[in-house]
């Protein structure tokens, strides 16, 4: 297949080097689905036309980097660069092994598979951070009685609406300072109107697999941070 125009959205056949070379020179890759480029790379591997292979790899690599950067914020260690590089390398390993689960997944649902791997990498990193944090807390543990008193004396109130919490972005900025995403999730479920604990309906404690005391403490932590921020602004 030979492409003669620069407005043709039909993807070249995966193994048609001439057509892919034309698509590259006409700048048509932007108009193609990333799945089609993955299939072309997997078809041309390992010893296909190197100029075409490298051009496709460059396009796809840059696309993946942009998607990774968009999803992985600078609130992660090393401004998120470590996670970005890790996922990028992991997914390219998969592309170069067409029979692997991700190798197949990327050629059928590229964005979903990429986002899934980003999400998993972030979740794994948070879990590792949480484990380290728990170890440090255990080493510096305060008497349990005092902890229970402070939690028991706190009675959070359900905010009546987003307006009370200033702009949404401000809320997210504050929540971003909470290192554990499960604590943020507790607060989000609280904002959804979920009770801390209930025998009759879904609850924060049940959704997060924690007890009521912990659910209350996590939500209180977020509320306290928000109160401080709102107080600083008034």
């Amino acid at each position: 297949m030979v492409i003669n125009s620069d407005d043709d959205d039909t993807p070249p056949p995966p193994g048609d080097v001439t057509a892919w070379r034309a698509a590259i020179s006409y700048g048509r890759l932007e108009g193609l689905r990333p799945e089609e480029i993955v299939v072309a790379i997997q078809t041309l591997l390992p010893n296909g036309d190197k100029v075409v292979l490298n051009a496709l790899a460059k396009f796809l690599s840059d696309l993946m980097m942009r998607m990774l950067r968009a999803r992985i914020g600078r609130n992660h260690p090393n401004e998120g660069v470590d996670i970005i590089n890790r996922v990028h390398t992991q997914l390219w390993d998969a592309i170069l092994r067409p029979d692997s689960a991700d190798g197949k997944g990327l050629r059928t649902a590229f964005t979903a598979r990429l986002n899934f791997r980003i999400k998993d990498a972030i979740a794994v990193e948070y879990r590792a951070l949480r484990a380290r944090h728990d170890q440090m807390e255990a080493a510096n543990a305060t008497p349990a009685v005092q902890d229970e008193q402070s939690v028991a004396s706190f009675e959070p109130t359900v905010p009546s609406g987003a307006a009370e919490l200033d702009e949404k972005l401000d809320v997210e900025d504050v929540l971003a300072t909470i290192s554990d995403p499960k604590k943020r999730l507790a607060f989000r479920l609280f904002m959804d109107g979920l009770p801390f604990k209930s025998t009759r309906s879904n609850s924060i404690a049940e959704a997060l697999g924690i007890n009521e005391k912990t659910a209350r403490a996590w939500v209180a932590e977020a509320q306290e941070l928000l109160k401080q921020t709102m107080g600083d602004k008034t």
Binding site: L45, A57, S61, R66, N85, K119, P181
Partner: protein, 206 residues
Amino acid sequence: MTRNTLTTRDEVLFAFHQACERPTAEQIIDWTRQYPQFAEDIRDHAAVARDWAAMEGQPIEQVDETLLARGFSRVLDQLYKAQVAAESAAPAQPKSTPSFHDAMAARQKNVRELAREIDIERGVIADLFSGRMLTPILMRFKKAVTTALSMTPEAFDEAHKAALAAPRTGLAKAEQAPAAVARSYAEIIRDSTMSEERKRYWLEEE
């Protein structure tokens, strides 16, 4: 793949990722009940998913050139390693059939000597060796070559097949690109500069 057939961590979490873009408490409870062995993973993924949902509509962070360049550099390295791995994993090539040239070298002869030995024009031998002689080949000629080179008829056939599969070009003319034009044995003999008597000899069966 339905939810009931999911078995691995990746399968379950990917299905959850696909099904619950903004997980609610009900969805989290439902999935953790169905897959208690991955409950903590599901909650962790749900937490990240809700973070993402809350950030919808926010400005997208732009990637810098350094990150792009380093990423592509790693990809080139991965591509190279994949190519090397594929080459080393490829089945070993079968032992190649000895060519006419191999057989001739083993007898410490050259084309000129061989031609003189069997009394034929050198160009005929050159055409055979270079894959420019089509079958059928007269038995007389075949027998003369195999005798001179101590080859079996089967080895001759294999060497001929290999020569035809990878023909060598003749000398290029000034106005033409070099081309390997194969001709029949009879045509090669008739077009040679040998005497008519020698031509007849090489065109007749014994």
